[in-house]
Symmetry: C2
Subunit: 199 residues, 2 copies
């Protein structure tokens, strides 16, 4: 005795989603089966809508209903600075912080020799092409995580952008606001010390 | 700056699913946007399939492509015993255990005065109706959790089934196989003691 075939199929499709195991996927499937008020229809139509109406911005590789996206089309934003992020959600988080007024480039992943993710698997070529064709860009700010994949991507970019006349910077690593010194790991404290500034 | 409207709509639809918060829903949405190989289509078609092909078995209230479902239609299963569960997944788990040869009734919820879930919100009326019309039923086994909602449901059933000539039993509560005595909570140990048997 097992679930009926259509149930199994939906469980399988849902467990492909990141962070969703088989148990959660079967909970989700039974929720969809039990849900009232046209929930399944709303879900179907939302997925369709996202697939049909959202495209990739050809400048920054972000998602948008328009191409170029709102940020790339916004003349009031500083065209000289491009902040490079791993994921579209990172860009949303930086925008929510509200201090940055430059543009973005979304890599949709980071280099990972371990996972076999190379330069061609992420949007690195598009970044280099953009820098080559857009003379206004003077600084690239790398806003990636400080882990092995972030390091690998930083290392690669340093080499790939060497031939261009621009600043390559990286956001600061250190103790987060509200974080307690005693709970920080040694490498964070090491970086915080190294990156100390005059007050 | 926020996500585009279709993205926000899908995030909202996905965060309605049980156990899915807004962060996970936005991760899922971006995965769907990034996914290749017709993943969005497969997801849409699986949801449609589940909605169109899966129905409720009119006997046990479970989900099935046929009505009555395979178990209710199986003449080799003991029609005298009905095991009452909260959820369709509980039935699947009991079937996987492989020892039970009776039938099932799925309540699709448990009574919960705290959450405002009363007898009419779950499939209790269908159970009583089934017992009334099916003279073959001689035992009802309650296989619900041993928490406040399970207790409330057991208490209600004891009263509601009082007028019928049948045994009302409940699965055993105690130390699970592989569980360590030292880590068990006092109420489990209390129940395990209370339910002790000759060896």
């Amino acid at each position: 005795m097992q679930y009926a075939e259509p149930i199994l199929r939906l469980i399988k499709a849902l467990s492909t989603l990141p962070g969703i195991g088989e148990k959660t996927a079967s909970r989700m499937t039974l929720f969809i089966l039990n849900a009232k008020g046209g929930y399944a229809e709303e879900l179907i139509s939302s997925i369709k809508d996202v697939r049909d109406r959202v495209r990739r911005c050809s400048v920054c590789m972000g998602f948008s209903e328009k191409d170029p996206c709102r940020i790339c089309a916004d003349a009031s934003r500083d065209a000289a600075v491009v902040c490079v992020v791993c994921d579209y959600r990172d860009m949303i988080a930086l925008e929510a912080a509200g201090t940055y007024r430059g543009r973005y480039h979304i890599l949709h992943g980071l280099l990972s020799p371990l996972k076999g993710i190379g330069p061609d698997d992420i949007r690195l070529g598009e970044l280099v092409g953009r820098i080559r064709s857009d003379g206004a860009i003077k600084e690239i700010i790398l806003a990636t995580a400080f882990d092995a994949e972030g390091e690998a991507t930083a290392h690669y970019l340093k080499k790939a952008l060497n031939r261009f006349d621009l600043r390559l910077t990286r956001i600061a690593s250190g103790v987060p606001v509200g974080g307690h010194i005693e709970y920080m790991d040694p490498s964070t404290l090491g970086r915080a010390m190294e990156g100390r500034r005059e007050i």
